[in-house]
């Protein structure tokens, strides 16, 4: 019995072409709407906050991207379209990677281009006619990279939700995540409370322990200025911070995406 090949570039490109054609029309309409909205908001000369575009872009990326991702596997919503999609000659891996590519790199590049176009036109008009200071979205900043990392993490959950739930993917995934993190938070806080109870007075560290931590911080020389008077967890535990970042931005999305892929291989319609 043969097992079949997992990946071929030609097949992948053919499947990508099918996918892009299936979303072309709604994507163009949405892009036009977003571009227009960004153009209008860029004309707003009353808001001189240089971070305005980062805030607006975050909203479009996170909310728009996650709604878009929720419908990545829209074919599986109905039995008839699910049958058609599952029977397209292509491996599960190729089909999954096509969806993932569109929801991740495809959406990020697409929304950034649309945003930049709207922003460029709006800010140009703003600068020429209204002589307002120029604001722009800096895609080479750490904030932007952090935002993309956050999107990729959240996207992985919504890809899973898109496969796992049969309808109302976005709402159900959001509620499931909210429920999960609420439960997770309660458990972590309960454990932390039980373990660290002797060191706390309500939600504050007891003064004698706080003094020990701040002194240790001062002696280490890791924190300077006003921050010396408060204990900075991130500055004092860089390894912990890097582990947490790696866990959230790499390990978690990869684990969730592997689970999503396995879910596709066992999908029945």
């Amino acid at each position: 019995m043969n097992k079949g090949t997992v990946f071929s570039l030609d097949r992948f490109l053919a499947l990508l072409n099918i996918e892009l054609n299936s979303i072309k029309k709604p994507a163009l309409i949405t892009a036009a709407a977003i571009g227009g909205f960004v153009f209008l908001t860029s004309l707003n000369f009353t808001n001189q906050d240089p971070a305005m575009h980062m805030g607006n872009f975050s909203l479009f990326l996170m909310l728009g991207g996650l709604i878009f991702t929720s419908y990545s596997f829209k074919e599986l919503k109905e039995n008839t379209s699910g049958m058609s999609w599952l029977l397209i000659p292509g491996s599960h891996f190729e089909k999954f990677m096509v969806k993932l590519l569109v929801a991740s790199a495809g959406f990020i590049v697409g929304i950034t281009c649309v945003y930049y176009l709207g922003m460029f036109l709006g800010e140009t008009v703003n600068a020429l006619i209204l002589e307002s200071p120029h604001r722009y979205l800096d895609i080479f900043s750490w904030d932007f990279l952090n935002l993309i990392g956050g999107y990729l993490l959240m996207m992985s959950f919504y890809v899973f939700g898109s496969i796992y739930f049969k309808s109302y993917h976005f709402i159900k995934t959001s509620l499931a995540l909210f429920g999960f993190f609420l439960l997770f938070g309660i458990i972590v806080l309960t454990i932390a409370y039980l373990v660290f109870l002797p060191y706390f007075d309500g939600f504050s560290i007891k003064p004698e322990y706080k003094e020990i931590l701040i002194n240790a911080q001062r002696n280490s020389g890791r924190v300077h200025g006003q921050q010396e008077n408060n204990f900075q967890i991130g500055a004092n535990m860089p390894v912990f911070r890097y582990i947490m970042k790696a866990w959230m931005n790499f390990v978690t999305p990869i684990v969730v995406l592997i689970a999503s892929y396995l879910k596709i291989t066992e999908k029945q319609v």
Partner: protein, 282 residues
């Protein structure tokens, strides 16, 4: 082409197939028949890997059906009863999807599209059910897949299209290809399907060539009902009874049709199978 070994399948707690075995070979047009809810569509889904068995195995081509490898999928064209088409023009659909089928013939497609008179430039979603079905049938025949599975293919087709459909199926089949047609409209595929497989209560109760039965049995018109051993099946008709019995060439009789074979198999499966295996002669 398809091997089913000890298949068990159930929906929630309702068992549909138990210990089902079946083989299907190249070069045949199989007719899959059964009452409503007998599991015909589910069996087709199991064969294509859209459903997974609870136990047992289904080998389609050389592949485990439930693993759905692309090498298996590019040999299968399954046109279900309830069809779905993406929001594309027929032309665009062909341009995109034909690349996934290595044996796809654009010449054949052009001929079939013209025969079925399907509007090629219109959006598939704007077409009527019959037109969508004709387009998918034309695409399916042009794909030249080793396994063509059609679930109620004549539903929604107009009368001229049914004739074209029969001709295209007959032209399609060769020694390397298999066609499975699941239908209740047996008259639409009367002289096309052979052998027939009849599903009843999760089992294959009959799997035989129609010709073998037609050579042996005929439908004879009788005025009075008779309960003799030779009569396999009888049915009240206008002015008498139609009975199925062994008949020689001199007896005035009609050829056995699939609908009657189905009724015999469902009402008297043991006797029919015994006769077909020649055990009655022993």
């Amino acid at each position: 082409m398809i091997k089913i070994n000890n298949l068990d399948f159930s929906y929630k707690n309702t068992s549909l197939f138990h210990d089902l075995d079946m083989n299907m070979d190249h070069g045949n047009i199989y007719g899959l028949l059964g009452r409503n809810g007998a599991g015909k569509t589910t069996l087709l889904k199991l064969m294509t890997g859209l459903r997974f068995p609870d136990s047992g195995e289904i080998i389609t081509g050389d592949f485990l059906a439930s693993s759905r490898p692309k090498e298996m999928l590019e040999k299968i064209c399954f046109i279900p009863e309830e069809i779905w088409v993406p929001p594309l023009t027929a032309k665009k659909y062909v341009q995109l999807y034909s690349k996934c089928y290595p044996s796809f013939s654009h010449e054949l497609l052009k001929t079939h599209i013209e025969e079925f008179e399907v509007p090629y430039e219109r959006n598939l979603n704007k077409l009527s059910l019959g037109q969508k079905k004709k387009f998918l049938l034309a695409f399916g025949f042009a794909s030249q897949c080793a396994l063509l599975i059609l679930d109620e293919p004549t539903n929604g087709l107009d009368i001229p299209s049914k004739s074209i459909f029969r001709r295209l199926v007959a032209e399609y089949i060769n020694d390397d290809q298999t066609v499975i047609i699941s239908t209740h409209q047996v008259r639409d595929v009367e002289n096309l399907i052979d052998p027939i497989i009849i599903l009843e209560k999760g089992k294959v109760i009959f799997q035989q060539y129609v010709n073998a039965l037609q050579d042996k049995f005929k439908i004879v018109k009788m005025k009075e009902k008779s309960d003799t051993e030779e009569i396999l099946y009888s049915e009240k008709t206008l002015g008498g009874y139609s009975v199925v019995m062994e008949a020689d060439s001199e007896t005035e009789a009609e050829q056995l049709d699939i609908e009657t074979i189905f009724n015999i198999a469902v009402n008297n499966p043991q006797k029919l199978n015994k006769i077909m295996k020649g055990e009655d002669n022993e």
